[in-house]
Amino acid sequence: MAHFQVNKTYQEINEKIKKGQAVVVTAEEIIGIVRKKGEVAAAREVDVVTTGTFSPMCSSGAFINFGHSQPPIKAARVWLNNVPAYAGLAAVDVYLGVTEPTTDDPLNKVYPGEFKYGGGHVIQDLVAGKAVHLVAEAYGTDCYPNKRLERQITLAETVNAILCNPRNAYQNYNCAVNLSNRTIYTYMGPLRPRGANANFCTSGQLSPLFNDPCYRTLGIGTRIFLGGGVGYAVFPGTQHHPGKPRGDNGVPLGPAGTLMVLGDLKQMSARYLIGASLLGYGCSLTVGLGVPIPLLNEEMAHFCAVSDEEIFAPVVDYGYDYPAGTGRVLGQVSYAQLKAGTIMLDGKEIPAVPLSSFVRAREIADLLKGWITAGRFLLGEPVELLPLAEPRPPVDDPHRDS
C-alpha cells in the first residue's frame, strides 16, 4: 500500500458535495493548479476533476422496450424509422445499434455513400422528443398471437430506453493520414492523398481516460455524465487492452483502455447525442461523455495534471497499412502539436484537425463541474476498478481498433 500525504475517501468527498463545499475544477484547470502549488497542495485543495469528450462512438446503442400491444406480440423483426433493430430478445425488447443504416440506404454503391440516417439518428430523434415509426413482425404463438404491429412511438411512450454502449471513451487513438494516391473516406473522416492532412480524435488533456491512465478510480459503478444525463461505467469496454505500451507517465502510446457505459436514455439530451453520417463509412452516434475523477491523494493530482505535451498519438497510414493490417506506426506526435494545427510527415508540414469537438468536450467538463459543485451529482465508488493487466495476451491484431 502506498503512503500518501493526502488521503481522502469517496464518502468524505461526497459529504462535501452534499454540503455544497466540494472544490471542483476541470481537467484543463487542474494543470495550472498543480504546476503552481504542487501535487500535495492541489490534492488537498481540489476534490474532483471533471473531464469530457464529444466524438462519434460507433460501439453504441440502446435497449428499448416498446410496450405490449393488444393482443400481445413476440416481435421477431423490428424497424424504427426503417432502421432495423435487433429483436432476438424477449417479446418487446430490442437493441438498436447506432451504425445500422435504413434498409433502403444505397450504402457505398454510389461511392462515397452519404449514410444520411441510421440508428444514431433514431436515438437523437427519440431524445429530441420526436415520434418515430415502429414496425414489428412476428410469427405468432399461442401466448403472443399478434403478427404485426405498426405505430408511432415517442421516447416517453416506451416502457424502458437504456443507452448501453459496449465501447466508448477510447484511451488514446490513432492520428490518421493517407499515403495512397487517392482520397479515402474513413471513420477518421476524409483523408486526402499523399499524406496531405491528418485527423485525430480524442480530446487530449480533457479526455477521461488520460486523466486516470492506470484506472486508480475508474471502474464498475463510476457515475458519469452520459449524453446529457447521468450514466455509469458498468464494465471494461470491448477491446479494453490495458497492456499496450505506455509512456513513463503511465499514459498509453496508442489505443488501450475502453469503457462500457449505460444510462437512462429518457433523461438524456439531443445536444449530447447526435446522429452522425460519416461520408463513405457509415452512420454513427456522437456521444457526450464526462467522467469525474476524485483527487483521493497526491498521486491522482499528479495523473490529472497531465497536459497535451505529455500525451502522444501514433500516426497511422489508412491508405495501405490500416486496411492491410500491417500494424505499422509512422511515428508518435504529441497532442500539443496536433492541437497547434500542423504535424511533420516525411519532412512536410501538414494540417491536423480533431474530429472530436473540443468546444463540446469543454462544455461537458464545465457542466459536470457545475452539477457536482451544486450538490446535484455524487461520486460513485467503483465496486471493482478497471483491470490494468491483460486477462490474456492481446489477440494478434493490435492495430485494428474500430
Binding site: 464529444f54 462519434p56 462515397p112 452519404e114 444520411k116 473522416g189 476524409p190 486526402r192 496531405a196 492532412n197 485527423n199 447526435i274 446522429g275 452522425a276 453520417s277 460519416l278 461520408l279 454513427s284 456522437t286 492541437k339 497547434a340 494545427g341 494540417p351 484537425v353 480533431p354 474530429l355 472530436s356 469537438s357 473540443f358 468546444v359 463540446r360
Partner: protein
C-alpha cells in the same frame, strides 16, 4: 471590391456568350469559380465580378433584361449554427479556407462566406448536415 455572385441562366440562354459580353461590352473583370451547365436545363455559374473601371449598373441591367437571375453567393451557402458542433471535419477538405479554425485553443470552426466558392464539398463531408447549399 470583387463581388461573388451566382448567375442563373434559363435554358434558352445556355448557348449565349453572356460572360463574354460582361467583359467586352461592360468592362467587368470576370473570374469564373464554378459552372454547371446542362443543355435544356437551368445553368448555374458562380462568378467573382470586379467593376475595375467598367460599367457595373449597366451590366446588371443587361443581365436582368436577358433573364439571367443574379443572387449574392452568401445567400446560397448556409451554415446551420445550431447543428454545427465544431468537429472540424470540413476544415481540411474546404479548398479556400472558408472553413477554418482561427483560434486553436477554442477550436471553433469559423465560416467566412467571402471566401466560399460554393463547391459543395463541406455539404458532403459534414457528418451533422450543418452545411447547406441551396441549389435549385
Amino acid at each position: 471590391m470583387p463581388k461573388k455572385l451566382v448567375l442563373h441562366f434559363p435554358p434558352h440562354l445556355i448557348d449565349q456568350p453572356i460572360t463574354y459580353r460582361l467583359i467586352k461590352d461592360f468592362g467587368l473583370v470576370v473570374n469564373i469559380l464554378r459552372a454547371r451547365i446542362t443543355p435544356r436545363e437551368w445553368g448555374r455559374m458562380v462568378v467573382e465580378l470586379t467593376e475595375d473601371g467598367g460599367r457595373w449598373q449597366d451590366a446588371m441591367d443587361f443581365l436582368a433584361e436577358a433573364g439571367v437571375g443574379v443572387e449574392p453567393l452568401a445567400r446560397e451557402v448556409l451554415r446551420h449554427e445550431e447543428r454545427c458542433i465544431h468537429c472540424t471535419a470540413c476544415v481540411a477538405p474546404c479548398p479556400t479556407k472558408a472553413l477554418d479554425v482561427p483560434d486553436r485553443y477554442l477550436m471553433e470552426v469559423a465560416f467566412d462566406q467571402d471566401r466560399c466558392i460554393a463547391c459543395e464539398i463541406c455539404q458532403k463531408v459534414c457528418p451533422y448536415q450543418a452545411m447547406e447549399i441551396l441549389f435549385d
